[in-house]
Amino acid sequence: MREHPSMKRTILSLVTLALAGAPALAAEASAEPSGSLLANLPKFLGRLHPVVVHFPIALLVAAAMFEVFAVVVRRQRTRPSAAGIACVLVGALGAGAAAWFGWINADLEPHGRGVAGLIEVHRWLGISTVVLAGIALVAAIIGATGRARGMTAVYRVALVLAAGVVGVAGHWGGSIVYGEGYITEALFPEPAPTSPDVTTQLADLQSAGKTLTVDFATQIAPIFADHCVKCHGPDKKKGNLRLDARQYVFDDRAADEQVIIPGDSFNSDLHFRISLPSDDEDAMPPEGKGDPLTADQVAMIATWIDEGAVWSDVPIIAPTLADAEATKGAEQAPPEPAFVFDDAAKARQESAFAKLRERGVVAMPVSASAPWAEVRFDLLGAQVTDDDLALLDGLEPTLVSLNLGGTAITDKGVAALARFTRLRRLHLDRTALTDAGLVAIERLQDLEYLNLYSTKVTDQGLVAAARLPKLEKLFVWKTGVSPQAAMLLAALKPGMTVDTGIAPPPASFEAPASAAAEPANPPAPEPAPEVSGGGGAEVKIDIALLPDCCKEALAAGHECDHPCCVAARAAGKICEKCSKH
């Protein structure tokens, strides 16, 4: 048979192909996690590993048995047995397929910590099986021709090795799935651990003269409540773990499943997981499922574990949305979403983004950690008209920042923005906006930043701005807004800055010499509501000083039209005549 060498090459290249294709497939799949049927193909192939793997195990062992039988019973020494060759042929191909699928499976399927080492050993034992089975197959085929007698011996040695290695590989594979010592455990079960008893623990500590620096009830339990028990609690039991009572953490878990090892934070899985960087796949809380713990919190938990993980019985309950609302601080960035940003909502947002981007509009999430969206029309300038605002459909629940600066939108377009009630930043600067358009803005109760510079807005329009409870920054440079109205608004709304864009003059250094010679900083004066003219030009106004006529007029949404008051405003003053009355 002259084609032996070519057959050998074919088989070798098949093995190479099988081995080489696996990592490539895995790479494709991890790049495309959830896509079409085809994209999911690698994952499917990977899961075939446990099915296919039975062929090489059974057949290689069977082939070895046939050869032993052939040698011992039938005294057939020079040639391989036909049954052996048949088994080796299918067994070697099966081994190749199993190794390939296994490689994919190892890369794609999530696996627990500590298993990585097992997987490596298993991986290379599997590859060794393929190589040995391949050698056995080739040697068997050559040996069967009877031309090279030595080949039969090579075949048998390789086959016995392959059968041995496949057995060991199979054992490691089982260990990955069922855990090490799964078989022996049945014979020699480990006693279930008993939970450390709080009173004995405390007594021990006391006798050792130690005191606890971390208190479970007040320092640790709240962390578990805020960050953990939503998923590891009575509702979800993710990973079959509950952290809402001592019993679930210690008593109900097997010895090798303990997540907290009292006195040993380093080897406690709980501590390991919470200290991983949040983009690690094993990190807790998982990305997007909750706020990561701060370094201080992690350190505190470590100390608590090292001090013996003393767990006193306190209720640990995840906060509800209402609690979160109640405790939310003023500076807490994006508000708690009242809607669920599920896959459908995500898809709606992505499709809106896609349409906007096609139009050349900048549309993107504000950050990788929250669903909030930001859209910039301003880079397209006057090409953008009211009609383009329809592109925002679908972003109603998530749009927090919208820039329409310098576009050709009108009051009508602005009126249509009232549905984006989560908007926090809105640029309408350099547009044809008038007071009429601003009325719709009143519905945007979350608005913190409103840019109206270079628009036709007048004092009248400020009434709408005054009704925005959270507004902090208002820009009215180059508008019809008078400095007096801006001042009044700033006075009415402490915490709001109204920027009229007046530049301060250069600082004067002709101050009294004592000021320069005095090294200590004098206490800063009381912060007053300011109309910031871009720096030092803050103007203080006491609303109480305004005459009644002006107050009434502003409350009604317009400026006082007394000729004397109009003249005073023009001069940047308060009407003295009316003030006296």
């Binding site: 080489a20 494709e28 929250a370 250069p506 720096g535």
Partner: protein, 496 residues
Amino acid sequence: MIDLSGSGCACRDPMWESLRLQTRRQFFGRAASGIGVAALASMMGPRAVFAGTDPRAPGAPIGPHFAPRAKRVIYLFQSGAPSQLDLFDYKPGMRDYFNTDLPESIRMGQRLTTMTSGQARFPVAPSIFKFAQHGQSRAWVSDLMPHVASIADELCFIKTLHTDAINHDPGMTFIQTGSQIPGRPSMGAWLSYGLGAENHDLPAFIVLISQGSSKRPSQALFSRLWGTGFLPSEHQGVQFRGSGDPVLYLSDPGGVDRTSRRRMLDALAALNTRQLERTGDPEVNARIAAGELAFRMQASVPGLTDLSTEPESTFELYGEDARKPGTYAANCLLARRLAERGVRFIQLYHRGWDQHGDLPRDIRLQCGDTDQASAALVLDLKRRGLLDDTLIVWGGEFGRTIYSQGTLSETDYGRDHHPRCFTVWMAGGGVKPGLTYGATDDFSYNVVENPVHIHDMNATILHCMGIDHTRLTYRFQGRDFRLTDVHGVVVKDILA
């Protein structure tokens, strides 16, 4: 060896050459993908196939890790190191020490540059400039900067920045790349890599350089200061020039119209894509991106640099210098226009702050170049509502010594480099306005309260941009690199 060329003589085939140069590991990695891809390419389509080699699609930003306070940075770099002692760090007590020797208890073995290490004595040179406190924040600013003084309430002064370097090039390289040794990516490149461009018609990282008026020659600037190091080349800073064409080779030569340029680029891109498929070299991607960006910039740059639409009031604010392309004032105005157009990182350099001698003369000239325009930029961004999400940083690479370099007289002195403390100010996106942070000793030689290292400042700038500096990394030569190396603590105290 396997003959992959099929030609019998492999040596003439460039494919073979490139394979020969690959390491064994690359070979197996590539071969693996190659065979796997061959099996699936027809089924999965090209995007998925290329995603396999680089999980990040070309140009896809990592995105801010959390909601940013600043969307862009304007870095007003004062190259040469301005004297904190004559501008912001007021030390009135020094008048009593005029021409006395700097005590060893203050110097504490500080290494000196060779420019003064041979000096027989180190006589204290108090500043001759008048200081006053400004605004509600009562910040100290000298009369060299009346305009900056007028906006003191907008600024956050950090008086305790300190660095590791004592000479210009290592100092600038350190502050911009996080390493004194050249070769790391610049901060602008990191931000471009991490956040991508908002405006795809302009580079995400733009560099503007102006010459100082000081009589003493300026320190050199190298383009590697705005380089990408090992990051993909499309993230490197693009320098806009002050005279002639703002961007070199951007104009089409005569006889080439927009359509033929487009066709040329398409054909080139097709060839480049084939090369990319063969070699997988990410720099081919950078080349394609550069061609496309240049094409879009042909349309976007002329409007950007045309200042004729600016009203007269603009030039009143920035000063008449702003009409002259290439001046600091013109660059500040350009920086505002770039900020309006959503450019992520705008890096200005103003040269000439290296006042080893004749400091009073030269620092006046330098402040004359920069004072009004720096303040104007802050004010202009503020009234346009842009200061809210633009972070402005003003500062040099280190500080200057209290002792005089060369002859000290009542009216003249020089100052050598000083790494242990210097003043920078920041304004806008995410930092507290009207704050003076940190304190130095009476000689402005050592930090006595709240030191801020270069890595801390860089970490803070990234934080304002929504980036966790420990998570913006790039794997190169087998390890992860980041701007702050293994250092850096965000200075939470200065965040609004």
